[in-house]
């Protein structure tokens, strides 16, 4: 444990601080997600971080376990009309509608950019049909990326997206189809807008998913009472941010008890404490999303905070904490 990682003793954290600084032992921050080793358990939630270029001005991407990109499709998508974003109490809503430059430009520009950094690359894949998803997975099979995350849970597009993520049979089928083309491990990103998370998690596991990530945003609606119209042009949008965190923790816990594959937990994580909570509930790694808009450097601060927590409580490695609250 290096000196700068020592916990600062304050009245508030005295006990853990003392414990942490006494043990003075190194903690192993590495995690293994479906055979891919990340240097720490923190990645970025798709759609909040672009392909990293804009955030690289604020945070060293080489200090993240992985960068998860904004969803990319086989062809460029223009996305939804504006307004696409709105704030709500303790969070925000978005209906960007998966605007993306298409897989060709993505491979030419974004993958080489991310490869400059010592971090894993997870490409989020979106599509309107099974064929779209498979086309992108096949294209990426020849690219230097580490994992694919299949977005079957976007609430803001009319076709594809969530349509595959709300029916267990459809989710299983699309997982199986994508797995036929993917060379890299496949993470299926689950929607919270379902009756049973365990059922969906089991379905994608049965389809061959190498990991699951959850939760995507919860579908919401906001009305401007002065203009008497919807705030978002799309009428509905995905709710994210600290307000949804307890829902996400519950769903990660449920998923962890339903499947054996690794789980990437996300939903309202804004601090190391939130991240640890998610790990204790059963997440093998965590994604940070909306909190990036509140502080662009928050991902690295969360990774450092998890390390301090482990030192304070004597956890030698991240996997020792995963799902231990039964």
């Amino acid at each position: 444990m290096s000196a700068e990682n020592k916990m600062e003793c304050t009245a508030k954290n005295q006990a853990e601080c003392a414990a942490g600084n006494q043990t003075e032992r190194a903690v192993d921050m590495r995690v293994n997600i479906a055979g891919v080793e990340w240097k720490n358990p923190v990645t970025t939630a798709s759609g909040t971080f672009g392909s990293g270029a804009e955030f690289a001005e604020f945070v060293d991407l080489g200090r993240l376990g992985a960068v998860t990109t904004k969803g990319v499709a086989n062809v460029p998508w223009p996305g939804n009309p504006t307004p696409r974003v709105a704030e709500c109490y303790g969070g925000m809503m978005n209906a960007v509608g998966l605007q993306n430059p298409g897989i060709d430009l993505f491979c030419r520009r974004d993958i080489p950019f991310l490869r400059q950094y010592d971090t894993k690359i997870i490409v989020n894949v979106c599509g309107r049909s099974e064929r779209d998803y498979c086309e992108v997975a096949e294209r990426l099979s020849g690219e230097d990326v580490d994992m694919l995350e299949i977005n079957i849970s976007c609430p803001n597009v009319k076709e594809g997206g969530i349509a595959f993520g709300q029916d267990p049979k459809a989710a299983e089928d699309i997982t199986r189809a994508v797995k036929r083309y993917a060379k890299q491990p496949v993470i299926m990103k689950l929607s919270p807008n379902v009756t049973s998370i365990p059922e969906m998690a089991k379905a994608v596991e049965a389809g061959g998913a190498d990991a699951v990530s959850l939760i995507n945003t919860l579908t919401g609606m906001k009305i401007d009472i002065h203009r008497r119209q919807f705030v978002l042009a799309n009428k509905t949008g995905g709710v994210s941010g600290p307000g949804i965190h307890p829902i996400a923790v519950r769903m990660v816990y449920e998923a962890a008890h339903a499947v054996k594959v690794p789980i990437i937990g996300m939903g309202g994580i804004a601090s190391a404490e939130d991240a640890v909570e998610m790990i204790l509930a059963g997440a093998d790694a965590v994604s940070v999303g909306t909190a990036n808009f509140h502080d662009p450097a928050v991902t690295v601060e969360i990774a450092e905070g998890i390390e301090r927590y482990m030192q304070a409580y004597g956890f030698a490695k991240v996997s020792d904490m995963v799902g231990i609250v039964e």
Partner: protein, 260 residues
Amino acid sequence: MADRKKETVKVLMKERLAEGIFSMWIETEAAGQARPGQFISMYTNDAAKLLPRPISICETDGERKLRVVYRVTGEGTGTEQFSQMKAGDTFGIIGPLGNGFPLERAAGKRVFLMGGGIGVPPILELAKRMSCKEKQIIVGYRDGQTFLKEEFETNGTLYISTEDGSVGTKGNVMDAVRENGLRADIIFACGPAPMLRAIKAFAKENQIECYISLEERMACGIGACLGCVCQSKEKDSHSNVNNKRVCKDGPVFLSTEVEI
């Protein structure tokens, strides 16, 4: 290079300029680099409001002091919280952000600097920095509460329009242009969409180079989330579709490159 960060800044002075319009000088590193037309992302100290408020830069001292002039958008809003701050209070910002006005294009030209409503403040720093042949500042207000008027008067020839006719030309900034028979070779404008549409049409009709500063609801403010796009005439090289990011590619655009 990860050399930028969210900065904690200190309020130096805050005052009310007009009904719902407030001015705040802050001490910030951003002051030294800011160009006219850029904005800062302002974070409230209320944890329930996690998105920044993008606020245009009104003026700077070029070193450590930066001024924002903003409108309070309603009760319980982030802008209301900023309006209640006092000297010595602190809050977080990121900035300067966005591209700013290409003021070097004005050299040797007759210029319109046009602002309307809460689009008036960024015109001040532009007017202060611009060197050109003829600096015509045309600003539009709702009524006689003509905030920043004195500052404009010392930085160019000022024309005012008011919706209620209490000061200057009755109507909008385009009415002021017509009433005074003004001519320009280049236009810089910031204001509400209907005003910008009228200015864009005027510029097209008279074949005048015209730069407009757009507004859109933002989330990240740095070009990553694609929340605040506008439609572009041609396919944009970054987005690969006909969309440009207001926060990163703008907020200032050549009027002919965007559909508004």
